[in-house]
């Protein structure tokens, strides 16, 4: 009876590989919460690996598969290659990778929550609210979800007002909060009055800087930054990874799993706007404009790609 940890007791077993720590209040926390949701909603047994070193992606996929996990997920495009490799070896297990567009029959799927679209909304709102005509977005590192968000941000801002000045920078770190704060302060000094952070923990530094000076945050990055920082965050563009995960895992149970990449966003209700909070009150007119934009994006009347270069 020494093998009870890995014995198959018929329970659904789901594991996820995370590039960072579950406390980053961003990318990894989102996934962790999604996992927790599955534990509750699907009565699944869950496991996760934090700070997964690149050298171990492959081995960990394999390890979880060997340990009897039914669905193994990699949270980030960087897990794609390793997943492809291991998925071949374990045809009876399901593999899911996020923020990439890969797939492999019969058991590897991926999904992206449309970052360009989310960035577009953020940029649009920021451009609408700025009094100085200068807005900024602060990313962690130049990786696809963030680069795409910045691309969308620029497009959205220009869509609202071609003359608005947009500053897009990277801190080079997802956890150096102090750097985020310093970066934000420097931006504020150049006249930026609406900031959109998208850098996990480092975002918290941006929030602190904004709070000190009293500028407004329109949060990117998918989690609801305003939940704890309602005083300064006007709204967050939320990305519901939990829902997508649950959906996909459920599909493995009922046999509807499709080995294909998924793109989801506002239209699917996976991307949504949080409630308005923060230090400024929107006029009805502004609210209407935002609602219109969202509706147009959903209906396809506005396509962010038309405004990017």
């Amino acid at each position: 009876g020494q093998k009870d940890e890995i014995a198959d007791d018929g329970k659904l077993k789901v594991a996820i590989l995370l590039p960072g720590v579950i406390t980053d209040q961003g990318w990894n926390t989102l996934a962790y919460n999604a996992l927790k949701a599955m534990e509750k909603n699907l009565d699944a047994e869950i496991a996760y690996t934090e700070n997964t070193p690149a050298s171990d992606y492959e081995e960990l996929f394999r390890g979880y598969a060997n340990a009897g996990f039914d669905v193994i997920m990699g949270h980030g495009f960087e897990f794609g290659d390793a997943a492809k490799l291991v998925a071949k070896e374990f045809q009876d297990k399901y593999f899911i990778v996020t923020s990439t567009m890969i797939s492999q029959e019969p058991n590897l799927a991926s999904f992206v929550i449309n970052d360009i679209e989310a960035g577009f909304v953020e940029g649009y709102i920021a451009a609408m609210l700025t009094k100085t005509g200068k807005i900024g977005t602060i990313g962690g590192m130049e990786i696809p979800p963030i680069a795409n968000q910045q691309k969308g941000f620029l497009a959205g801002a220009k869509y609202y007002n071609p003359d608005v000045e947009v500053n897009a920078v990277y801190t080079g770190s997802f956890h150096d909060i102090a750097k985020g704060k310093n970066m934000a302060k420097a931006m504020i000094e150049t006249g930026v009055d609406i900031l959109t952070p998208n850098a996990d923990e480092t975002s918290l530094g941006v929030v602190e800087a904004a709070r000190e000076v009293g500028v407004t945050i329109v949060a990117g990055g998918g989690s609801d930054l305003g939940e704890k920082n309602g005083d300064i965050v006007l709204l967050s563009l939320m990305q519901d990874y939990g829902r997508v995960f649950t959906l996909l895992v459920q599909s493995t149970l009922d046999g509807s799993f499709k080995a294909e990449p998924l793109v989801m966003g506002l239209a699917e209700g996976v991307t949504s706007l949080s409630s308005y909070r923060g230090n400024i009150t929107l006029t009805t007119d502004q609210k209407v404009k935002i609602d219109t934009l969202v509706a147009d994006l959903i209906s396809g009347k506005v396509d962010p790609m038309d405004y990017t270069d």
């Binding site: 496991a47 171990d56 990439t100």
Partner: protein, 410 residues
């Protein structure tokens, strides 16, 4: 110990075909007892080829150190068990996972070796410099630069046959890291720039540089992902078996350990390096060129770091991207120092830390021990091992005295 003594003595005296294992334990025992006591018996053993081999591998000092190190690791794990218990885990399950994950079966053993491979390289990187009196904290940066150049060469020239392309690519990795280290040596010799500072700074520079490359000039078309084009098949380090990641890089690492031994033992410049490290003035007096030696050593040390990077890219990852090293460069320092900068020690140190890494994965996966606890255990191992090394030097006699008294012998 008493047990060993009785058993081994019996076996050895009345059974000339004692197994290697028995002899090893016996040798260990002889060494613990102290040199000289059983010299006659040692002579006896030397007569036999196997005995000689063991004596070569474990000269008395080494055997004693090894024993202490093993005890240290066990003590660390013991304290680690308390930590696991404190955070509400099950030490039994955790260590079972550690054991299974690191050497529970052939595959696990191979995985441990996979992880040991880059650590051996970075351990060598630190050890080369240390032997010449330099402290190289820069293996991490050298690793990235080696990875970069290896990728550059490995993702082009796909028309070459493997037999040519792979060695050239490895060489590129060596040179990439080597040049990065060479700059450190040059700054030291030319400006007296302290290598601890420059290597720490250069780590950051290298990491940002790689980040720039893979999001800019080296990005894989069409530019969706921040990673380089894949290494062509002709530059991939072949794997030994289907289903295991153990690849030829491990052999290259062992070869480099041999070359390390060869460099310092057989080459004139190796001797010069040790003289420079041990007494810089004497090196000048003897007509050596310490500045050149230092630059050369930093080039080689950097090269070893570079090979660690090349090894990861060509053996495991197949492409260059940000953060592809989980701190192998820093672990290498511990590997070298735990291995006391000796060839054999570096291999063992690499395997020890490799085992902690692969077993650690299993601890996370199965025993659900968080990664943070694994870090704690890792640091405990380092602390106990370095503390244990001092016992070797300082208290050996005292311990021996107690040991003898308890044994009632002599």
């Amino acid at each position: 110990m008493i047990y060993y003594k009785k058993n081994c003595k019996k076996r050895l005296t009345n059974d000339s075909s004692a197994t290697i294992m028995n002899k090893q334990i016996y040798m260990l025992y002889v060494h613990v007892r102290g040199k000289g006591i059983l010299e006659a018996e040692m002579e006896n053993i030397k007569q036999k080829p196997v005995g000689l081999l063991i004596l070569r591998l474990f000269p008395p000092e080494t055997a004693w150190k090894l024993l202490i190190q093993i005890l240290s690791v066990f003590s660390a794990l013991l304290v680690g068990a308390v930590v696991i218990k404190l955070i509400g885990g099950s030490p039994g399950a955790a260590y079972r996972a550690l054991l299974v994950g690191s050497m529970g079966n052939l595959k696990a053993v191979m995985e441990t070796l996979v992880k040991a491979t880059p650590l051996i390289f970075t351990g060598l990187s630190f050890a080369y410099a240390a032997k010449a009196g330099l402290i190289n904290i820069g293996a991490e940066g050298q690793l990235y630069m080696g990875g970069f150049l290896a990728t550059l060469v490995g993702s082009s020239f796909g028309w070459m046959p493997l037999i040519i392309h792979l060695p050239i690519t490895l060489l590129a990795g060596f040179i990439g890291g080597g040049l990065w280290g060479l700059i450190i040596g040059w700054l030291k010799v030319k400006f007296g720039a302290n290598e601890i500072i420059t290597t720490v700074m250069f780590n950051y520079v290298a990491i940002y540089f790689i980040s720039y490359l893979v999001t800019g000039p080296m990005i894989e078309p069409p530019g969706t992902y921040p990673q380089s084009r894949p290494i062509t098949d002709t530059a991939i380090l072949p794997r030994f078996f289907q289903g295991s990641r153990l690849h030829w890089g491990f052999i290259v690492a062992l070869l480099c350990v041999f070359l390390f031994w060869f460099f310092f033992r057989k080459l004139k410049v190796g001797y010069e390096s040790r003289v420079v490290g041990s007494n810089f003035e004497a090196a000048k007096y003897a007509g050596m060129k310490p500045a050149k030696v230092m630059i050369l050593i930093m080039f080689i040390a950097g090269g070893m770091g570079g090979l660690a990077g090349a090894n990861e890219i060509l053996g495991i990852q197949g492409k260059l991207f940000q953060g592809f090293s989980p701190g192998y460069g820093f672990d290498g320092i511990a590997v070298a120092l735990v291995g006391m900068n000796s060839p054999f020690g570096i291999i063992l140190g690499g395997i020890l830390f490799g085992a902690l890494r692969s077993g650690g994965n299993m601890m996370q996966m199965i025993a659900k021990v968080p990664i943070s606890t694994i870090y704690i255990i890792q640091s405990l191992v380092i602390i106990f091992v370095i503390a244990g090394q001092m016992i070797t030097l300082e208290n050996r006699r005292k311990l021996l005295a107690i040991f003898r008294r308890n044994n009632g012998s002599e």
